[in-house]
Amino acid sequence: MAEQQYEIDLGNLLAFNPHHQFVSPPSSREEIVKVAIDEGTKVVQAIADALFNLPSTEDPDGPIVKLPAPTTKLPREKPLPKPRPPTKWELFAKKKGIKKRKKEKLVFDEQTGTWKRRHGYDRVNDDSDIPIIEAKSTDEPGEDPFAERRKEKKSKVEKQEKNRLQNLKQAAKVGALPSHVQLAATSLPITGTQAIPKKVNKDELENVAGMAATATASGGKFDKKLPGEKPLKHEKKYRKFLPAVEGSGMGALEKQQTEKVLNKLISKNSHEILNVEKAVNMYNVKKEKKQRRQGRQSSTSSKLKTKKKDFKKTSKKGSSNKGKSK
């Protein structure tokens, strides 16, 4: 009787009494609560009638029943996950009719006479774990067969990684990327090879910061300083331009400057402007050194062949002296 009256959703343990109605609004709060609780008890009793009659299994914690699926439809929280598209290998295998077969983890290794893992560390027929490789007639001299094997293995791993990336890209297109995988863009290589981003050191950073600070019309004069920021190295402008039009006083300056430059150029090749004193001094010093060197060479000439290092040292010294004298 009761079950017919109520709508019961056992999956949510919910019951609904659609027939009850307050005929006249009850006056007091207590009355409302009392009616609600009484009605609630009846409704809950109806759920319990259905629930406790379900087949149950005994458990130390209490009887356990299997609930049916909820009948009240509620919206999902997130969209349905999309199925992963088949990988290139899976497509190929399907086309060729290749089926997955289970292989045993341990394989008998005939070389050592023991059971070994099929894959991984200490595996059967490990190519990279052979002490001796027999030479073949096709072997080219100068090539390391061990290195070749290592290279081959590395390239295989790289190829597999490439394939994996390709398959993941396909999956990402459909939106079926595994939840823990992300495809991140790496920085673009500029000229074929990828340069490792350099870490900027403190000095460089300060230089850049200084340049940025002075890159205003006022040369950073009115900018607010950050706490701890050092004052500028060059507070003033580097170059000063002379006025283009001759005015009071400054006009003569340009003339002076150009004259100075011209004088230097002209005087380079002129012999008239010769500092005799300096030239004599230079000549004397040069001569002295030449003599000294010659004297040393003659003294050490007998040991020249036996002590090469000595010779080198002296020569170095000579050259450095030469530089100084000039």
Binding site: A15, N17, A36, R76, E77, K78, P79, T186
Partner: protein, 315 residues
């Protein structure tokens, strides 16, 4: 160029997998937060809702100026919080002169607002104000009963909507196996008029009745309140359709070697493979043993692991 990025730690991977969309969803998490102003009533109500749903909810305690769920542009930060905390239900409390003691119950789908119901709270009684035997107090995370009373829940659109949201909010996880000894709470919702309901949380007392089904007795434990429906917003029809999709039924595998007989019932055939007497696996190759110990055993000599000191009889 692309690079495959995977978490380096297992814990992070597991956490990401938890957040990924699933074929069969079991439960939703709830975000509890409030606006610029809340009254003391709302404050205690929000905390109590948090206590009721302690194992699957997140409570924010800061003011949120820019959340106005019903207005356009007022939902952006709410949606962001939903994404951040991985919650798809939210309870938002606010208090203003126009709408005193305002409670917005809503759901999100794919971290975008799905639907909303706004209710005003009246006659609120907190958990603390109820006196009852504390042995009856419902335990955290127990599966609740729901009792909806009144034809208005069917005839009035707003209440129908509210009923669905209340069910979604409080039902907890969807389970298949239920322990009958763990039933200890009921949510009773009674329609008082076409826009007002009485909501109450009760504990259950199971009494012996002489039959299999115990006699139910409800003890009010709070919180209890009246909810007056104010505004509500239904989901988009297309969005609703999409969100109601369920996992496609998996094709059942053909049951092999089982025959059903009218007289004998279920009959099964069992095949026993040949006993491979010749190649019995050696006991020494047990997987659980450490490698070095196993190898030592194979050699059968040398390695003797230090035995624990045993109590010796006094001689």
């Amino acid at each position: 160029m692309m690079r495959i990025k995977t978490p380096k730690k297992g814990r992070i991977k597991r956490e990401l997998e938890k957040r990924a969309p699933k074929l069969v969803e079991t439960g939703k998490k709830t975000l509890i937060l409030h606006g610029t102003k809340t009254s003391s009533i709302l404050n205690s109500l929000l905390t109590e809702i948090y206590h009721l749903k302690k194992n699957d909810s997140v409570k924010y305690s800061r003011k949120n100026d820019n959340i106005r769920p019903f207005e356009s542009g007022g939902e952006t930060s709410l949606e962001f919080y939903s994404l951040k905390t991985d919650c798809s239900l939210f309870v938002y409390g606010s208090h203003s002169k126009k709408r005193p003691n305002n409670l917005v119950l809503g759901r999100t789908y794919d971290h975008h607002i799905y639907d909303l119901v706004e209710v005003g709270v009246e006659n609120f009684r907190s958990m603390g104000s109820f006196l009852y035997d504390k042995k009856l107090a419902p335990r955290i995370g127990s599966k609740p009963f729901f009792a909806f009373i009144g034809e208005a829940f069917e005839s009035v659109d707003e209440l129908k909507h509210l009923k669905e949201i209340l069910l979604d909010l409080f039902r907890g996880e969807v389970v298949t196996n239920l322990n009958l000894a763990g039933l200890d709470r009921v949510y009773v919702c009674t329609a008082l008029s076409s826009s007002k309901i009485f909501f109450s949380h009760c504990a259950l007392r199971l009494k012996k009745s002489g039959t299999v089904v115990p006699r139910m007795e409800l003890v009010e434990v709070g919180p209890s309140m009246d909810m007056v429906v104010r505004r509500h917003r239904h989901p988009d029809e297309s969005l609703r359709k999409e969100s109601m999709k369920t996992a496609p039924e998996l094709l059942k595998k053909k049951e092999k070697n089982v025959v059903k007989d009218a007289i004998q019932g279920k009959i099964g055939k069992i095949y026993i493979p040949d006993q491979k007497v010749g190649s019995v696996p050696l006991a020494n190759k047990a997987k659980g043993v450490k490698r070095e110990r196993r190898e030592a055993k194979m050699k059968g000599e040398g390695y003797k692991h230090t035995q624990k000191k045993q109590k010796q009889d006094a001689e």
